[in-house]
Amino acid sequence: MKKNITGYLYFYIHFIVEVVCFFYLTRVNSESLIVWLIPFIYDGVAFVPQSIIGYISDKYPKINMGIIGTILLLITYLLYGLTNVSVFITLILLCLGNAFLHVAGAETTLKTSGGRLAPSAIFVAGGSFGVITGRVLATTSISPLIFLLPLLTLIPMVLLADSYKTSKDNCKNFNYVNKKRNPYIVVLIAFIVVIVRGYLGYGIPTSWNKTVVENIIFFCTMGLGKALGGILSDKIGIRKVAILSTLLAIPFLCAGDNIMIVSIIGVMFFSMTMSITLGIVVSSLKQTPGLAFGITTIGLFLGTVPIFFIKLSQDINIILIIVISIMCSIALGWVLKEDKK
């Protein structure tokens, strides 16, 4: 039996997807009169429909969402690079391409993982590295058409990842949730945890983060944390990782405002929860992993909505980090079943 490398394949695919998305967003937004509108529409159209696309993918697994997503991104870049078509057309196409590829990544890594979290966590981690790479490249003078080449490489990568799928693939081995808990409450708690963590992610005090290099370090640490969350959960148990990472993040995040090394340790712990909440939702919706993934992306969108309209003071952010982290830790401990190891 060949070793499952779908997580690494989708790490690359996710990386390229975020590079092209954030290259486009940074370039277009720098020309926009309303700073918040394009990122807001992007968050909405890229994140929210993933639940419906995922549900369609669950019901009709023969539809190749990865290839559809790649084609949409190729069309976006051809239109953006060669024509002067309205930004809203290319923005919607870009968002949908992003959404289709995310669903493909989630479905493939979850279904072929045999109940392990690491593949999907590695897939998710690729995005953080892509976001910062796209932003940095957007500040250079390179042509958007250059990105057609990495986009074309996604086609063989998606097909290669698909070769790991079998008709027997499923998510039956995702059994992270305490069976005594009501599944509706479980999904609701995971959803709320994603929302509040999504919001807190933007409130982390990082006065140290001023230069491009520091920003790169910040995003890379975030990516590393997301991947480690899944890898450690498989090694030492998801419940331990969920409770410890949520609580350990608090002192580092609160004390790291001006000290980079302290702050990034906190960011790493903070980011570990991402794959854990995904594992919880998939455990409750084993037949529909695409829909389960979509729940978490809707949560992320709802978590980011307030940042477009509300700005809280640093002190309130720190209080929120402490209170919400403790509450999340208790909630995750209640939802997750005891680790075997």
């Binding site: 020309e31 159209v45 419906i52 549900y55 599944p183 037949q287 809707i298």
Partner: protein
Amino acid sequence: MRNVFSPVFIVGNELLFYIFLFSMALIILLTFIFVIKEIKKK
């Protein structure tokens, strides 16, 4: 500069923005209907 946001969009087509918000709300509602349906199935 590209014509990213013509005043027409900002002033005249606010309706489009509300349609966008309504669509997002509708998809979220649909998602929860599907989730309830799938959990019931188990």
